[in-house]
Amino acid sequence: MSESPRKRQRTTPRNSEGPEAQITPYSDLRQLAGVIPKPITPFRRASSAGAGPTPGSRRTPNIAIRTPKTATRTPHRRPGTRPNPTRRAAPTTPHAIRALRERANAARTPGHNRRRSGRIQRETPRDTLRDLSRLLARTTRPVDPSPQVQARTPRNPALELPDIDDGPEPVRPRLSMPLEDMYDDDSIHEAPPRQSLLPQVPDDVDNGTIHSLEFGRRALSEDPRQMYGGRLSERFAEFGDMIPEEEYEVDGTFIRQNGLDDQFLQDAIDNDMDDTTTDLRALARRSGGRPSDVTLGVFGDQDEPDDPTFVFTLPQRIQAAPQEQPEEGYEDEEAQDEEQPSVGAGIDVIYDDDDDDDDEPMAAYDAQGWESDEEIHNDQDLMTYREEASAMDRSLRTQSPERAASTKGRPGPRSGRQRKEMFRTDFGDEYPSFPAATVKRLATGFAKSQGDKAKISKDTLQMLVSTTDLFFKQIGGDLAAYADHAGRKTVEEKDVLAVMKRQRTLTSNTTAFSLAQKILPRELLQQLRMEPPPKLRGQKRKRMETIEEENDE
């Protein structure tokens, strides 16, 4: 027992300093710690010191060999250390240097039993694991994922195999639905069988214009996108360009647009038409492959060379949504044929051109639809029909018996108002255009309040009117959707309020009534306020709420 402290004193410099520490200042210990950089050592040392008799007895023989040197050094050092803490330069003698190094080594290398035992005692499981890993990981290598290496080579084969000449590139398969250009000329697909579509056309007839007039028909009820007409603003790109009204002239066998030279016409035919028809043909195929649906009665008598033929340049949007309403388009055609509408209406015509599905192609296209309807019903009819007169002529005629018959259901659109242009919605209902005067008045008022020059030019007004119509179309669809959702048959004020709330014109701060007070004329305001009481109960409550809120404000 008496030996162990003494031996400890000698064994390691720290231990030897241990008793000394009572005397030496803290800086001395720090100095030592600086000399021995391993941060783990104090921990181990302390552990071994507290380890008890067994490690101590083991350790003694080992370090006893070294101790003399260190012991000899330490006394040297100690007196110096005390007055002068910065004694780095002290171990100048080889003995001292060696001793220092050895001490450091002793601290660093855990190769001794004493250390190991101490470590085992104090080790955390993490240390154990680390040691284990050091043992085990000596042979193992970090795993590099093999698929990566494999994938790397095919990734850029062109770089690695520059010599390989791979001929013409194979046509890349198209992954999307090739609705628009399925049967392009450079397509690898075989051309669709046209003979079945145009059975009566001899081979030498120029096909370019013939098959260009085919249109697929889709039942209106089948297309879910056409319910309520969708949102206009989604299709806005279509309305971007205002096409002036186009006129047709009869040119030989063609009725064509003015201002188009032949080259352009031919191009238009080749590009637009082909796309359209193939597209439609594809549609027809998909829907059960009844080619006769697509065939047009117009060209039934193509063998007569003098028969005039329609040539239309179709804008792309028709391809996008080939919807058809069999009875649509009479109005439009009439508008083209007989009357040039007066000033206010002229604007509207142009707008309508842009609005839903392009009047002017629609007109012809509807005429075809109307004729091919007959064909659907029975071919016998069609044959007789073709024989009796040129189908072309018929479609141009404004007062054909069929047309009169089909228009009969509608209340005479033109009889009442002469000047007002009537439009058609997607559903075939006709509606008047919004009066431009009101638009102008509103716009002028708002522009004035904006501090702008309150002059609104004619084409601006025209644009505003067209925007107005778009707006009403949009809000009509929205309101219908809301009313439908509520299971109502009528559009009610709640729907409008809901729409306004949704578009955030109504917030918690603004009610419909406050807005109305700001904007609407007083008569309307009064009506808005006074009407509610005789309403239905649910509606009344809604209205009343609004009014109360308003009164609070």
Partner: protein, 76 residues
Amino acid sequence: MAQTLYPRGTVKKIVKAHARKPLSRNADILIFLNYALFMQDLIKEASIASKQAGERGISAKSVKKVREGCLRKFMG
């Protein structure tokens, strides 16, 4: 505001045609209110756009430029 009413019947007809549903009695006033708000917004945006383009007054071009955004804003 010494102006006449807006053509109520026309608005009703238009919306009715588009919605394919009849309108209740006062819905058209609210619709017109909405339309007036829309017009206000449109004029405001258009005047901003035309000022940015350095035009005098409101041009058709600026209206055309902003109307899509305005319509989108007034989607229900």
